[in-house]
Symmetry: D2
């Protein structure tokens, strides 16, 4: 009866902030921390790691494309697999070093934005990312979506996985997220999202919009914190999970 809540944090840059990291760090158990390519910088990385450590929140690297002005959300064409390896390893290594300054372990790696979208559906790309993790952070888990290319790549590379679901999104027949443009793809009602998430976690399955089931152990629920409404939904989700007897904790934590 234990489940992880993860969120993308440390997404400011220089003088700019994004979201309410302090509020989110009191709600989640894992933080995916931007590594300076799409957001984040060495100072923000360190401050986020320190804040997370003070609250017992696990930290992981959140590498993205090198694209500050587009926040890593624009597809980048024409990178070779070797360039992807280098891009990801560079950011993981940088993050690990900042973790070391705070005496904290890097627990996981999750890809961001357009890079995350691309590697969910491209096995070669997912393998390149898994190779980067194997080389640069062999003890870290690869946070993946069940059924995605990253899930398979983690298995091929022998990496430990943290399998995550989205509480506020529906799934297509291939168990990818339904596109946001599709009516009903985003669930705005917190109570509904909570019920869905608890069912998926308790039953260990993801159900597509067409009613197909994927049986899978679920380790983590991804939540957003970039708006006040998102923070509120996360708070309701955490309180609902705890009221139902779930313990919110990082995946690596010992049994409480």
């Amino acid at each position: 009866m234990r489940i992880d809540l993860n969120s993308d944090l440390g997404e400011g840059f220089g003088p700019w902030t994004m979201g309410d990291d302090a509020a989110m760090l009191s709600l989640v158990s894992s933080a995916n921390v931007a590594c300076g390519f799409h957001a984040g910088d060495p100072q923000i990385m360190r401050a986020t790691i320190a804040m997370a450590a003070a609250r017992g929140v696990a930290v992981g690297a959140h590498p993205g494309y090198h694209d500050l002005s587009g926040f890593g959300r624009r597809p980048v064409a024409g990178l070779t697999l070797r360039e992807i390896e280098n891009l990801v390893a560079y950011q993981i290594g940088a993050f690990a070093a900042i973790c070391a300054l705070e005496g904290q372990p890097m627990r996981h790696v999750k890809t961001h934005g357009a890079l995350g979208n691309a590697c969910a559906v491209d096995d070669d790309l997912a393998d390149a990312i898994a190779r980067a993790i194997r080389a640069a952070a062999p003890d870290a888990a690869f946070m993946t979506m069940p059924g995605a290319a990253t899930d398979r790549a983690a298995d091929r590379a022998g990496l430990r996985q943290i399998r995550e679901i989205y509480a506020d999104r529906t799934y297509g027949e291939d168990f990818n997220l339904s596109p946001r443009s599709q009516p009903g793809a985003v669930i705005h009602d917190p109570a509904h999202a909570l019920t869905r998430a608890m069912e998926m976690v308790a039953e260990g399955r993801i159900r597509s919009v067409g009613g197909k089931d994927l049986r899978v152990p679920i380790d983590s629920i991804c939540v957003h914190g970039d708006t006040p409404a998102a923070v509120t939904m996360t708070r309701m989700l955490r309180e609902g999970l705890e009221a139902a007897g779930w313990q919110v904790a990082p995946p690596h934590a010992g049994n409480g």
Copy 2:
């Protein structure tokens, strides 16, 4: 009778190259590789590490200020010691991860340009850099100038050192390099530079322009490769050292 030759390499960026890295890698035994902040990028870092490994050349991180357009040569004011720690750790960690992709160890850390100048004369700054190395690469040596603040900081931090001299520069009474603006500060005659370097290394001392001596074991000679003339001078230095019975090899190498 063994001595290291080190040079700053991998100093291109994106489509741009600088110096003749292939020529230099056949002459030196240690390469200080730019880490992406003043020069270098993940692809160039990896290619440089791979080329060095193929020639038995040791690689180390060469962190600098975040200043591509000024090549890290402009003084940067107003950074806190904590920001310096983060700046250096980030680059070291990134470099270590790219090394890991090539299965190569990171052997040392040397600071670049204006950061290198600043930490040679500022003990607090040198300590901040030593802390970053301790945290992010405790097995790497800190490449320092004998008598400089970095020399003392390495000792305080318990870091292994690679003590380097410059063959083509004279030393002031405080054993810092004489400023380039001073007449005679740069030695342009390769034969003279060779004689000087061999004397300093053989006798284990650095002599100031005023005739003062600093007794110190010398591990490495820094050479430049950014012009054809610099490559030629390095070739003469290596050949002269070998003709005099010296073995050019990285400091960590076993006795041949």
Copy 3:
């Protein structure tokens, strides 16, 4: 009985925002718009210009050092005067072109942050900036602080000036702003700031903390909008000015 209120706006970058530009644009009559080097990007520049135009607010370029992560607030050493000319002209020209896309004139140029501090006290630097304005935007006014190096440089270059004061800051004996570190240097009481500003504008003089007077026509009052409190103070200032019979309008506007 007309006075301009100016504020630094368009200071976001990519996905990040700063301050409440919409609120400020309903209060000020001139906007100093960041040009992409310390903040701002082509999209934000255009959106800010369009929003300003819709409210009758005049726009000017707000060039700074090339330093996104430090927001242009860190001193940059070692730039030649020619490099300063190029830095400033580049940003002014870019801003003028984005203005042209919106069919709006660029009314003025004001320097940002550490560049602004440096050119207030360095006549050569101020002259370099004036040359950039002369070349790149000869019809624009140079927004200056009375008695500063920029004031003299504008006169030497034959540039029209917008002379500004700060309502919430005190002045030293050289009529530069008292350093923020000095007790009382920043006036936090809106009523006091309003009284001060109205006196300075009405009487055409700046009074130092020691009681010395500088007689000078004052064209504009600089206000800040980066915090909710700053917006509130600006609102009180505007309402106070209007209640006292002042018309808040850009300096170039015809007599109402």
Copy 4:
């Protein structure tokens, strides 16, 4: 009997150089100068403009995607037409301001790399670029490829054109350049390239590999200078043109 030779110049960045600009500026009559987004910086822009002016070479802006590490050669997806307008106008305006510092007129605009490839085949994109030129530099010519989307966009926008051909490339049936991957697409024999170019210019037609002709007045020949071989080919082209009685001069120049 007059023809322009144009080449991409000023493609260094910070400490890095690319190609032999001095050699090329003694051979061409128009320089397309990088504007800081894919290459170039304010100092390099100014130095290139000054060198060109000293040799009577016309200068134009050469805007590209914001991508230093990829040199503007990677396709960038997801930019809106408004973002394209802003991207191009920003660079044109910046270039015009640096020209103004040197007292030189900006004669033309040519798009670079992946942006150039994209707008050659996309009418909406080409119109966005034409709008940016109309707004930011209405007196400048748009350098286009005959038959391309840019050719049509320039006409729709009422912009003066400089129609260019490539001496060393063959043309497909749609009069776009044959892809480099296609055998024979690049002509390596200087004598052959010279003959082809002179025929196209003299006869005012472009012939496809399949033998189809496009009748068009040709204003300029694009040449490359990024390798010693490219400089040599340009020299042969210029000497061949002059030997055949052609005057190499910018398109705007009066009749000699």
